[in-house]
């Protein structure tokens, strides 16, 4: 057994293998067993090491996608808005207490039709990132989104959402202003409106802050975007109690677009240019534009009641469990 191989094994599995190895070595030293070959045991162990190495390879692959989804040169919400929608007018404020810049909302035209567009914008350099609060929203943002969705519903404008957020902003003021209920009400409203909702995950789909814009009749995901209940960092901190579990958490959480399609959480994967959207932002915007036009056509003739009940049916059927 090549002990050097052990160095490549993820640390959390290290103990188990080391234990099995030392048992084997001890066994070999007992006189009764000398001369007997331990081929089976050694093969089992080698297989175990192989499977653990596969876990680590998968973890690295998942982490690479996490990094791609966060790449600051990827096109962002404003790039898509500017490149796709004509005559776009930005609308601001929740009409209650404030304006949250991390969520961009407004009306614009695509293919000659007016749509409402709502999305998280992260910003590209540090100045912009501070301005948009890294795409982390506060209740005022979710309530602005609700206001625009209601407006769209009244006038029959389809809603297009562009999701790219690490998650809702965990701050004292946001909590005091009712972060939980703002997100819940956003989700609720998306089960009430009778216009098509097309939700596109363009980068990071972080937890409740992402879901607050993502209850779509059709949910699509860019190839290298992610969708997750918690960030790998947060998950590792809670379950592994150690940041070294971050990459493994990225694997365990199954947060890639392929995983989402397999779990039927999304309807479509939008392919990215080779190497990722950051390599050809202009082309990426064009691909998304084509997708939106197609998606809007798919839902154009469906009556409002059916759009509404379709969303309820779709999301209420999600879940995996066994029944005796």
């Amino acid at each position: 057994m090549d002990l050097k191989k052990l160095e490549e094994i993820p640390k959390s599995y290290f103990k188990e293998i080391l234990g099995a190895l030392s048992k084997l070595e001890k066994l070999k030293k007992i006189p009764f067993f000398t001369g007997i070959h331990f081929k089976d045991a050694e093969r089992d162990l080698a297989q175990k090491i192989e499977s653990y190495k596969k876990v680590e390879r998968d973890a690295k692959r998942a982490w690479k996608i996490v990094e791609l989804s966060r790449n600051e040169n990827r096109p962002q919400c404003l790039d898509y808005i500017n490149g796709i929608f004509e005559d776009f007018v930005k609308l601001s404020g929740d009409r209650l207490t404030g304006e949250d810049r991390s969520i961009v909302a407004g009306l614009g035209k695509i293919n000659g039709k007016t749509v409402a567009v709502i999305g998280h914008n992260k910003g590209k350099d540090i100045k912009q990132r501070l301005e948009y609060n890294f795409g982390m929203s506060i209740p005022q943002g979710y309530r602005k989104s609700q206001r625009i969705m209601r407006l769209a519903d009244r006038f029959g404008f389809p809603i297009v959402t562009l999701i790219d957020t690490p998650g809702a902003y965990p701050a004292l003021e946001a909590e005091d202003d009712g972060q939980a209920s703002a997100i819940a009400k956003s989700i609720l409203l998306m089960f009430e409106v009778k216009v098509p909702i097309i939700a596109i995950l363009i980068g990071e789909g972080g937890s409740g802050g992402a879901l607050a814009l993502a209850v779509g009749n059709e949910v699509a995901m860019l190839e290298n975007s992610t969708y997750s209940v918690i960030s790998p960092e947060g998950c590792a901190a809670i379950l592994w109690k150690n940041p070294s579990g971050t990459k493994l958490a990225a694997r365990e959480l199954r947060l890639t677009s392929r995983d989402m399609l397999r779990l039927k959480v999304i309807d479509r994967i939008i392919p990215e240019p080779i190497g990722g959207a950051q390599n050809a932002p202009g082309r990426m915007v064009k691909i998304v534009k084509k997708y939106i036009i197609g998606a809007l056509e798919r839902f154009a003739s469906i009556p409002g009641e059916e759009l509404k009940s379709g969303r309820a049916r779709k999301f209420e059927s999600m879940g995996f469990f066994s029944t005796e």
Partner: protein, 258 residues
């Protein structure tokens, strides 16, 4: 006589008195953890509870493995808590009033919401619509169940959609926020109720104090996320002591009956 130390005032309480006082400290009124079975017992008319959805069990469909596998974690928790899942649902009577009742238990993997909790809230919602009886849910949860990945996030949408159909059927929906209610549960079915009641000493927030403290890099006010602060901020309708919950619920149910 067995004694229990109050988590808040650290005074010793005789076990029997503690239980008679509904797991509330008789000296400082601190509301301690109460498991779902005990909660049922102190809330509903005796022998009136009929459990629903008993045959639904969690599945380790992602083969999730952190420091132990999810399937092992489930088995251990079931043994430890004698519960099947983080929520018990059923039909019950409160002072003779029929209700569809859900009770969450923080002891079951932090009361986390996975596929089974989502499905049970859906079953309960369908049941109360079918029977035309009010929906009452006692919330206690750390949030979504990470071991079910993004599917646990989707339970937020699933439960909101389910209770939305209850609301559209003009059936009253009441939630009781107990310690703690946060994350995915606080940002879904817990906060879209018609009436939100908080128990004293219930941590009620979206992001937990540790995460918020890390973000703002300042100490939090001592009352962060407390029922009192939430009442002041307009996030809950009222704070009700555990020993008055039954009568408050009865009163509300009667008001909705006309």
């Amino acid at each position: 006589m067995e004694k229990i130390k109050c988590k808040n005032c650290t005074k010793d309480i005789e076990n029997e008195i503690f239980i008679l006082n509904l797991w509330v400290c008789p000296y400082c009124n601190y509301h301690h953890y109460i498991n779902a079975r005990d909660r049922l017992q102190i809330t509903v008319d005796s022998n009136s509870f009929i459990e629903l959805g008993k045959n639904i069990n969690s599945d380790d469909f992602l083969n999730f493995y952190d420091v132990k596998s999810y399937s092992v974690r489930l088995k251990e928790t079931k043994l430890k808590t004698s519960l099947d899942e983080a929520v018990i649902i059923g039909e019950a009577k409160i002072e003779g009033n029929d209700v569809a009742l859900g009770v969450m238990d923080f002891g079951f993997i932090g009361g986390s919401m996975g596929s089974v909790v989502g499905e049970k809230i859906k079953i309960l919602s369908n049941y109360c619509i079918e029977k035309n009886i009010p929906l009452v849910i006692f919330c206690a949860s750390g949030g979504a169940r990470m071991q079910e990945g993004v599917i646990s996030l989707m339970q937020m949408a699933k439960t909101v959609s389910s209770v939305n159909r209850v609301k559209e059927s003009k059936i009253p929906y009441i939630t009781i926020i107990t310690n703690p209610t946060s994350g995915g549960v606080s940002a879904s079915f817990a906060t879209v109720a018609d009436i939100i009641i908080a128990e004293p000493d219930a941590l009620f927030c979206f992001a937990g104090p540790r995460v918020v403290k890390q973000t703002i890099k300042k100490n939090l006010p001592p009352d962060f996320g407390t029922s009192e602060r939430n009442l002041k901020n307009g996030q809950v309708d009222m704070i009700v002591n555990r020993n008055e919950l039954r009568s408050t619920l009865t009163n509300l149910l009667k008001l909705f009956k006309e």
